[in-house]
């Protein structure tokens, strides 16, 4: 019998991760685009680390940080109210960090592509930075926002190393689809592995297709 729970867990994780990333990355990308601090390259490098780091490294450090025996882990447990290691909450935290550049960088490039006069025009018209952000800047960078959402979502769906390190492989709690495939292949359950894989291929293709179709349409609207 097919166990659908890993797929449900994967989608739930991707959805929550993307939502958190969207809310958190808008101010971060805004700051990275407009700040003149000399620390900017440092911060950009930190945000971009997951692009080049083996997921196991990030997972390893997070596991240590989440462990109840470390001060950071104890503080995190107090903050979250539960243990993060080997729990769904831990998976979310790991995924958010791991997919951070996939949301922040498209947004940052969206901000940089807007002509500076757009924000300046709003300021001269008496609008605050916040009003300008939500009513002028963000509505005019929809393709970048969509790209960020889709890439973060797809990247979280495709995660393996980080979730395995942090979440382990607990059925019903932390066994997401990518891990379930690995597990199924290990146990020679090829039918099961095929099924999960096919669904993931479908999700990945549909996500990217949507990005290209919608962005193509948006671009056409702008240029026609």
């Amino acid at each position: 019998m097919t166990e659908w729970h890993p797929l449900y867990l994967t989608l739930k994780l991707a959805f929550i991760t993307t939502l958190i990333l969207l809310v958190g990355s808008v101010p971060l990308a805004y700051w990275l685009s407009y700040s003149r601090t000399r620390w900017r390259p440092v911060l950009e490098s930190l945000v971009g680390m997951p692009l080049v780091l083996p997921p196991t490294v990030l997972g390893f450090y997070l596991l240590i940080a989440m462990s109840p025996s470390s001060p950071a882990g104890r503080w995190l447990i107090e903050l979250a109210g539960f243990r993060l290691a080997f729990s769904f909450g831990g998976l979310v935290l790991g995924s958010v960090l791991y997919s951070l550049p996939f949301m922040v960088f498209p947004l940052q490039s969206g901000f940089s592509q807007l002509p500076p006069s757009l924000a300046e025009a709003a300021y001269v018209l008496g609008k605050s930075r916040t009003t300008t952000l939500f009513r002028v800047l963000l509505p005019n960078m929809k393709p970048s926002i969509l790209a960020g959402i889709m890439l973060s979502f797809a990247h979280t769906v495709g995660e393996f190393g980080v979730v395995l390190m942090i979440g382990g492989n607990i059925p019903g709690h932390t066994r997401v689809a990518s891990i379930a495939i690995y597990d199924a292949v290990e146990g020679m359950h090829y039918r099961q592995a095929h099924l999960y894989s096919l669904v993931l291929v479908g999700i990945a293709f549909a996500t990217l297709l949507l990005v290209y179709i919608v962005n193509g349409r948006l671009l056409k609207k702008v240029w026609s």
């Binding site: 002509p115 006069s117 757009l118 300046e120 025009a121 709003a122 300021y123 001269v124 018209l125 008496g126 609008k127 605050s128 009513r135 002028v136 509505p139 005019n140 702008v222």
Partner: protein
């Protein structure tokens, strides 16, 4: 009355320019900033708007201090009564013409001004269109109308007409003068189009490498310019008087509310209406009755692309 005295050190790629300008402008005046690119015209405009912070100096507009380094006053752009027409118009692509204007309206303000401004700039027909579906001239009018929604004391224009063809430019200059007469704002325009300056401005500030080298009335600027450059210029002006003289004719042009007299030799046929009126290369596209008659055919229809 607007008085400012500003210092700004700018470090550009090709060496820095030290901007140091003091000027006073009467309320309701129209000042043109003239000078080569890189002379600091746009920087000066941006400092007036609060988009660029000077290194020293002060700006006082109608008795209100907008900037004073010594007193530590630096009002943000939001709190300065300024309208700014950007060179690229900076219209919000996500909003219609009406929404662009409405966005500028302060909370709780009477929105009748929107309709009034759209009427004055002939935009009512396009009210529900997005900026990208409008022609350059229409977009420019939206930018102008939007800058006036808050009824600013000071309207700043950064070469707003330079990208438009001559016919459209002349019409927009008329709009601008008409609006200024009705609303009474003080205006500062950056321009290196001499014909535009002649038509719009009543005073001209000449900037060279960050320094104000001349602040003159329009007539002096034109006389000076003719003497120094004597290049061709296309004018859109009304001929209000023609008086024969021994070797030519004296014609009087009405340019931006100022009558200007030119003593001009006629050609072999004794014509000035042959579009050529001018001493040594001084051309004007003027007809006997009104301006730009010879230009009319070039004027594009006011429809979107």
């Amino acid at each position: 009355m607007i008085t400012c005295s500003l210092e700004h050190r700018r470090f550009a790629e090709h060496g820095g320019v030290h901007l140091s300008v003091s000027l006073a402008l009467p309320k309701g005046g129209f000042l043109a900033l003239y000078g080569a690119s890189g002379a600091g015209k746009t920087s000066l405009l941006r400092m007036l708007a609060g988009l660029l912070t000077p290194d020293a100096g002060r700006i006082v507009v109608n008795g209100e201090t907008w900037y004073d380094k010594a007193l530590g006053i630096d009002l943000p752009p939001q709190r300065r009564s300024v309208g700014f027409v950007f060179q690229d118009y900076a219209l919000f692509p996500n909003m219609t013409v009406r929404q662009n204007l409405a966005f500028a309206l302060p909370r709780g303000a009477d929105d009748r001004i929107l309709v009034e401004l759209m009427e004055l700039t002939d935009l009512r027909r396009w009210a529900d269109r997005r900026p990208e579906t409008l022609s350059g001239g229409q977009q420019q009018r939206v930018a102008l109308a939007r800058a006036l929604v808050r009824q600013p004391d000071l309207l700043l224009l950064d070469e707003p007409l330079s990208a438009l063809d001559p016919g459209m430019r002349f019409r927009l200059q008329d709009y601008l003068l008409d609006l200024q007469q009705r609303l009474g704002f003080t205006a500062v325009i950056v321009s290196h189009d001499v014909a535009e300056i002649m038509k719009l401005a009543d005073r001209v500030a000449v900037l060279e490498a960050g320094k104000l080298t001349k602040l003159t009335g329009k007539a002096e600027f034109i006389a000076d310019w003719l003497e120094r450059d004597g290049q061709e210029v296309r004018l859109d002006a009304q001929v209000i008087g023609v008086r024969p003289e021994q070797t030519g004719q004296e014609i009087t042009l009405l340019l931006g509310g100022v009558a200007l007299r030119f003593r001009l030799p006629t050609d072999a046929d004794g014509l000035i209406a042959g579009r050529r009126i001018g001493p040594e290369g001084w051309h004007a596209t003027v007809g006997p009755e009104s301006a730009g008659v010879a230009q009319r055919n070039d004027v594009p229809t006011d429809t979107p692309p």
